[in-house]
């Protein structure tokens, strides 16, 4: 898909909670075979503090994105948060974020849900709104405090964090632009959560080939065909990262060498932040990219779908990097917690109302 007018990125920001639990601690807690999490290439994961949730994480990431975009919050014409961990089942998260950032009331806004790629859908919608001239800036947030049943393999990876992007018309304050995008969705039930269920169900092996790999490969191939590009034309490749292994595997299937993937592979150190996953990876790449470099971004959401984007870096990006905390800063600023504290923070301990 390619709009008549190019749309780009004016600012980006991430937020990763400071708390970490080592995957080896979860392994020992539930008696998994030692080395299980290493097989997933995940070593520790970020845990939201007791007073954090998708709203507060999304707010922090968005604040950083607005700082880098150097705009006034009131200039934002659309705000979206893609998440599968809304604090309220009914009642938008984005209104709290928008109000707290000083963006409301003259703006579009919605919480979007499509498992881990809802924020990808928000980027597409924003490109349409901006390219058509309906709005000047859009703020897209991907944030989650991912749920996992204690003792499920998902617990090794399901983590908390988020990323946010301020989008604008190319040349209008942008530091990178979308050269093209391609979305691909089918009804593939690899992972879901029913209403009133606290934790998702998933198909374990089934989340791989028919879901993650098929959708990402289809979207990326579709993108490259439509733009007439080959994998060698890209300087970086960022994929949704449910664990540390899948992105490397899908890269090799698509012909991307490991060194183009590693700069944006963050999951081994923070776990899978769901809607934040690929977008935090992209932020890490933007923080080291040079003008004219080309970046592949491919999201994935269970259920299932993928969006692939080709992004060209523009002049002026370097001077935006230090306007807000970088991915690297969040990776370094961490505090390890025990399983009991993690259980309290994530609300895994059921208390009676007293």
């Amino acid at each position: 898909m390619k709009p008549v007018n190019d749309v780009g990125i004016a600012g980006w920001g991430v937020y990763i909670p400071k708390y970490r639990i080592k995957c080896s601690e979860i392994e020992a807690m539930w008696g998994f075979q030692p080395g299980y999490c290493r097989s997933l290439n995940v070593y520790e994961k970020a845990v939201a503090g007791v007073d954090e949730d998708t709203i507060t994480i999304g707010y922090e990431a968005a604040k950083n994105a607005i700082l880098r975009a150097k705009i006034s919050p009131s200039e934002v014409g659309a705000i979206y948060v893609g998440t599968e961990s809304k604090p309220y089942a009914v009642k938008p998260s984005i209104t709290v974020i928008g109000e707290a950032l000083g963006i409301t009331p003259k703006t579009l806004g919605a919480d979007l849900e499509f498992a881990c790629r809802a924020a990808g859908e928000a980027i597409e919608a924003s490109i349409g709104l901006i390219a058509s001239g309906m709005i000047k800036y859009s703020l897209v947030i991907g944030a989650d405090t991912a749920q996992a049943s204690p003792g499920d393999v998902l617990e090794f990876t399901a983590s908390s964090g988020g990323a946010a992007y301020v989008l604008a018309k190319r040349g209008d304050n942008t530091v990178a632009y979308f050269e093209g995008s391609f979305s691909y969705i089918t009804d593939t039930p690899d992972f879901w959560r029913r209403p009133r269920s606290p934790y998702p169900y998933h198909g374990e092996q089934f989340t791989g080939d028919p879901a993650y790999f098929h959708h990402i490969i289809s979207a990326v191939k579709g993108l490259m065909e439509s733009l007439g590009l080959r994998s060698s034309d890209f300087d970086y490749a960022v994929f949704h990262q449910p664990n540390g292994r899948f992105p490397l595997k899908v890269a090799s299937k698509l012909g991307f060498p490991k060194d183009k993937v590693l700069p944006g592979l963050i999951t081994p150190y923070i776990g899978n932040t769901y809607n934040g996953s690929a977008l935090i990876g992209l932020a890490a790449v933007l923080e080291q990219a040079k003008p004219d470099q080309r970046i592949l971004l491919a999201s994935f959401g269970s259920g299932s779908g993928s969006d692939a984007y080709s992004i060209i870096v523009e002049d002026g990006i370097e001077e935006r990097v230090n306007l807000a905390p970088k991915v690297k800063d969040f990776l370094e600023n961490k505090e390890y917690i025990s399983y009991p504290l993690y259980a309290k923070f994530r609300g895994l301990i059921e208390k009676f109302e007293m």
Binding site: G49, V50, D51, E52, T56, Y59, P87, E353
Partner: protein
Amino acid sequence: MSMKFSIPKTWRERKPHYLLEATKCKNCGKIHYPPRTVCDKCGSRDLERTRLSGEGRIVSYTVQYVVLDGFRDYAPIIYAIVELKEGVRVLAPLTDVKPGDVKIGLKVKAVLRKVSEDGKLGLIRYAIKFKPLEAESQK
């Protein structure tokens, strides 16, 4: 269903709680947080809304172990009086910091956090809390 949090009150107070909205006297310039209707310094009723920076230093703090009903999850809670750049003082909890790392004079900034929940089904209250600025900004 029991409801402990007033819906109108939670709504009414959102701007002071979310983004430190204060009032400023158009006559004498005094800034008031929480917002006021009448300036306590000069008596003027001509006030305008203004937003505070959210950056400041700790004037005093306490680590509260005996918590009120509904706050056990957050214990111990560190509360501080923070003097913002504008000279206005705000009382709020600190977050993402250990009791041993807090001291008078520490530089902090405001962040939005969850304050409390009306049980599992009711409203969630969000408001600013303070967290320490990064180590390199402490000078």
